[in-house]
Symmetry: C2
Subunit: 249 residues, 2 copies
Amino acid sequence: MTKPLASTPGPAEIAKLAKGAQTRAAIVDAALSLAAQEGLDGLSLGMVALAMGMSKSGVFAHFGSREELQCSVVREYHERFEREIFVPALQVPRGLARLLHMATGWMGSTAQPNDASRLYGSLYISGAVEFDDRPGDVRDALSESVRIWMDAMRRAIVQSQTEGQLRSDVAPDQVLFELHGIILSLHYETRFLHGPQALRHAATGLRGILLRHAVNPEREAALIDAALAPCLAALPDAAAPASVSVLTS
Amino acid sequence: MTKPLASTPGPAEIAKLAKGAQTRAAIVDAALSLAAQEGLDGLSLGMVALAMGMSKSGVFAHFGSREELQCSVVREYHERFEREIFVPALQVPRGLARLLHMATGWMGSTAQPNDASRLYGSLYISGAVEFDDRPGDVRDALSESVRIWMDAMRRAIVQSQTEGQLRSDVAPDQVLFELHGIILSLHYETRFLHGPQALRHAATGLRGILLRHAVNPEREAALIDAALAPCLAALPDAAAPASVSVLTS
DNA sequence: ATCAAAAAAGAACGACCGTGCTATTTTTGA
DNA sequence: TCAAAAATAGCACGGTCGTTCTTTTTTGAT
């Protein structure tokens, strides 16, 4: 706790913390990966200790409680989401283009398998279900992160309206609600039903929402279709013949 | 196991089973109620025993395993869903009217608080999240129920097309995907974000989806708005002034 | 009233949980 | 190189979990 009395204590402390913070970060990384499979409240100190090859108390010492470990996982997920989805979108011109960039990035991270990305699972979705009736720090951390991301999305919608691309007579919250529905349905059909057409359905649905709210649908169609093309191209086959969806069987 | 050798064994056995099956049903009812709060895999024999005022082994004896208790809960939920949402919709003329009846019933059961209905929680949503990466009997029972319900919804969509109300050039799965998104977003905003406008957003979103896919939007608007009116009327206040949504704060 | 079967209780088990506590090892800065 | 400090391991505790076994109570037809 107390600083050393000798000179240059500042950088020394930082260096001392370095090793500890390093393994702590590794623990959070492993925990986030495990939480994608077992759920956020299925996370136990024993499993992450096993996954890290260290003792249970060794892991525990870094956080002081299981709840703090869970909160750290949420914060780590938040930072990755911000870094990999939100920040890149800021380089795209504001308005519909940026909104599309954010939405497709969100869709991509939702539809990807857990081991194909460092943005494991969809913690904002699974966490919301697991902690919707469970007050506490984890729920608070979760809802704070979700709120920040939702605010960013709503801002992008509003900017699309002020740019004259989306109609101003619809409530941004309404557009956000419907867009979120696309994400959630994509998550459901991908993760639970294992439907192969999920990403196509999501892209088509998003296209419908945006075109419906566009001031000039003919004008924005090109922009929208261009942004959605990667989603539709990444499918197994556009005209898959006998591959019957789980929803269809 | 072996039947008694004496006469009239048939009704005797039935009568004997009656008491057991009766408490078994009571256990499943309590378990379903608990699963709405703690989640389906958060369900433990100890809790339902406590809630039932009986011993843990007494509860256990009725099912033989925790997994079987969970499956029984899923089946019970399925039967209630079928009885309270699906069957009543069959009395409505097929086509868009029936589709609307099913969708609004689904929305109602999703937005209701747990203690206001015998159709606790949205097991099809929370269960899908909890068991999406967990193979086993529970997942199978869950996905079977979901598949049956999804099939029924898709059938209603197809009938709306053959009745000439919805356009036939859109894939029923696409409409189902978007409609499901409305339900999921409603669940998210109601249960997790506690947004007061959730039901309004859902009704407006559903209206948009159906009007967009309608052969003659002007003709169907009256039917749709009439079906959605109860949803929009059940709100706290249409023009709530300063009540800021969680999404907006 | 009797008696066998069904239902429920009770006790115990091994396993895992989160959390303290005390050693021991490793890292760190002078 | 050395001592202080941080990181980790080891161990034990009380608790809950699902499950199995045995015993008791309850039930229902004779």
